[in-house]
């Protein structure tokens, strides 16, 4: 890890907020569009260093919650506290240092289609570090090699498969070594084998880099394979927030309905 750090400067001592086991604290978060409420007061803790999974049916507000979490949109009200800073209403220019804590893997990768795989992964390094050409090259190739896509470095995103695009997107999200990685539907559109490979990647990434992971999904196999905490969003509210084992014993009829409809066998 240390040999690939963006900067060789000594890391500053962690503040009290940075030692808090809750990495992101969301309180009474509300967001609506044209008088239609989508998030109706979400309260949620994202635990530091764990894989926090957010599940829910279509239209439950998962994607909207992700957009608020990364402040791609301003919420109507509520708090999103990241390491002690409430980012819910911060101005764009004040968000710049906070956003550097995040890495995001979009559902369809969102790779820059005019750039090669290499340039996509190198982009955050060129923007935010003073690394020279060879340092950038080494770092990018190391990340691509970790994710088994080094051979596609010179290709354009359109020339590689969906699974590879996802791996490149993970490499890009990881290259600046963020503290929080957000995955939006990481296994959607992938075949079962590729899905399990992506699941393994998420677990390995969380374990090796110690990042806090937020995984938005409705792939229940993934939830039970990788999740440390499961949060269920239903009609803009958190219905359950517990461990995967606890959710299997839930008595909440909404949770039971969702899990059984997803083919999960509840424990009595």
């Amino acid at each position: 890890m240390s040999d690939t750090k963006a900067s060789t400067e000594k890391a500053p001592p962690k503040t009290e907020a940075e030692l808090d086991p809750v990495h992101i604290r969301i309180r009474e978060l509300k967001k609506g569009y044209d008088d239609t409420p989508v998030l109706r007061g979400v309260t949620l803790d994202i635990e530091r260093g764990f894989i926090n999974v957010i599940i829910g049916g279509s239209g439950a507000g998962k994607s909207v919650l992700t957009r608020q979490l990364l402040r791609l949109e301003k919420p109507d009200s509520g708090e999103i506290v990241v390491d002690g800073t409430d980012i819910a209403m911060l101005d764009d220019w004040k968000l710049v240092p906070i956003r550097k804590k995040f890495g995001m893997v979009f559902q369809f990768g969102a790779l820059f289609d005019s750039m090669s795989v290499f340039d996509n992964v190198a982009f955050p390094l060129r923007e935010h570090t003073k690394m020279n050409r060879s340092e950038v090259h080494d770092r990018v190739m190391a990340r691509l090699a970790t994710l088994n896509v080094a051979h596609a470095a010179h290709k354009l995103p359109a020339q590689i498969s969906g699974g590879m695009q996802k791996r490149v997107a993970i490499a890009r999200a990881l290259v600046l070594e963020p503290e929080i990685l957000v995955y939006d539907e990481p296994t959607s559109g992938l075949d079962p084998v590729s899905s399990r490979i992506v699941d393994d990647l998420i677990s390995e990434t969380a374990a090796s880099f110690g990042v806090t992971s937020v995984v938005i999904t409705h792939d229940m196999a993934s939830v039970f394979k990788i999740g440390h905490r499961v949060n269920m969003l239903y009609k803009g509210l958190i219905e359950a927030s517990c461990t995967p084992d606890e959710i299997l014993r839930s008595q909440n009829p909404i949770v039971i309905d969702f899990l059984t409809a997803s083919g999960v066998k509840m424990k009595q």
Binding site: L72, L95, R99, Q107, A110, F112, D113, E127
Partner: protein, 288 residues
């Protein structure tokens, strides 16, 4: 079999199908007069809102543009795209407009016995009006449409969101270089249009109609001064900013997948062209 099913009468005691229970009455549309009145009153409000949005985006672009980091290579790349790559189409249009304008003027002036004035009138018209307006329209059609499509595609495929999550402001990264390149390159393209257009008119006047080349040039030098060129270049600079910011706005706020991007491109070209023509009048009033 199909006919049997279609003609089968439901039994009296048979429960009604689900679709009948959920059937809703079609919404009644207001009459045509009400709809027309709504359209008449809504149109100016929509237009003003659009102008407000573009001005707000331009203001944000300026604010983000003066902030570090300065991406010089992106600006150069956009200058190449908006300017250098537009040279052929601007040159062709310039040659055509100049030649046709020269042709019409020589014919017209000949009836008054004043064909020697062709050089001065062609030059003034090109410098003040034709060069800035035509070159801007051509750049709008070629580069403006491409800008709207590119940024719109980035929007609908989350690439702009990806920039934001990487702490790269998309206005600073995508819009500012394009607007600055529009500001710098459109006047250069207008000047290029002027030179090619004048050459076209000169060729027609001297080669086709046999006018004296020396008189043609001398008349131009006699009548056209720096103020005329300044007027044209000022217009071109304003048009350059206008067409790029409108194209960026359309792409930046595009939604609705491929169809949305197509609509954004269409609007970018139409709105830019209309804006150039309308602004031309108001800028001209400052100079006359």
């Amino acid at each position: 079999m199909a006919n049997e099913t279609a003609t089968k009468e439901p039994a009296e005691n048979e429960p009604k199908p689900q679709s009948e229970k959920t059937e809703v009455e079609p919404e009644k549309l207001p009459n045509i007069a009400v709809r027309f009145a709504e359209w008449v009153f809504a149109a100016p409000v929509i237009a003003l809102a659009e102008i407000g949005l573009v001005m707000r985006l331009l203001w944000d672009t300026v604010l983000w543009g003066i902030r570090r980091p300065y991406r010089i290579s992106l600006v150069i790349s956009m200058c190449e795209f908006i300017g250098v790559q537009s040279m052929i189409i601007v040159g062709l249009t310039g040659a055509s407009v100049g030649a046709v304008f020269g042709l019409q003027l020589v014919e017209g002036f000949r009836q008054l016995g004043a064909e020697n004035q062709t050089g001065s009138v062609v030059s003034i018209a090109l410098a003040r009006e034709l060069a800035p307006v035509f070159s801007s329209l051509m750049i709008s059609a070629r580069a403006g449409s491409a800008i709207a499509t590119e940024i719109g595609s980035m929007r609908v495929t989350n690439q702009i969101d990806a920039l934001t999550t990487m702490s790269v402001n998309p206005i600073q990264y995508l819009i500012f270089p394009r607007v600055l390149a529009g500001l710098l390159m459109t006047p250069i393209m207008a000047l290029f249009f002027y030179l090619i257009g004048f050459a076209g008119a000169y060729a027609v006047a001297t080669e086709v109609y046999g006018l004296d080349g020396g008189i043609f040039i001398e008349r131009m030098r006699w009548y056209v001064d720096a103020k005329d060129l300044l007027q044209g270049l000022t217009k071109a600079a304003i048009f350059g900013v206008t067409l790029t910011i409108i194209s960026c706005r359309q792409g930046f706020y595009a939604s609705g997948g491929a169809a949305g991007v197509g609509l954004a491109t269409n609007r970018a070209v139409v709105q830019s062209s209309v804006a150039v023509l309308v602004l031309d009048y108001f800028i001209t009033t400052f100079f006359v």
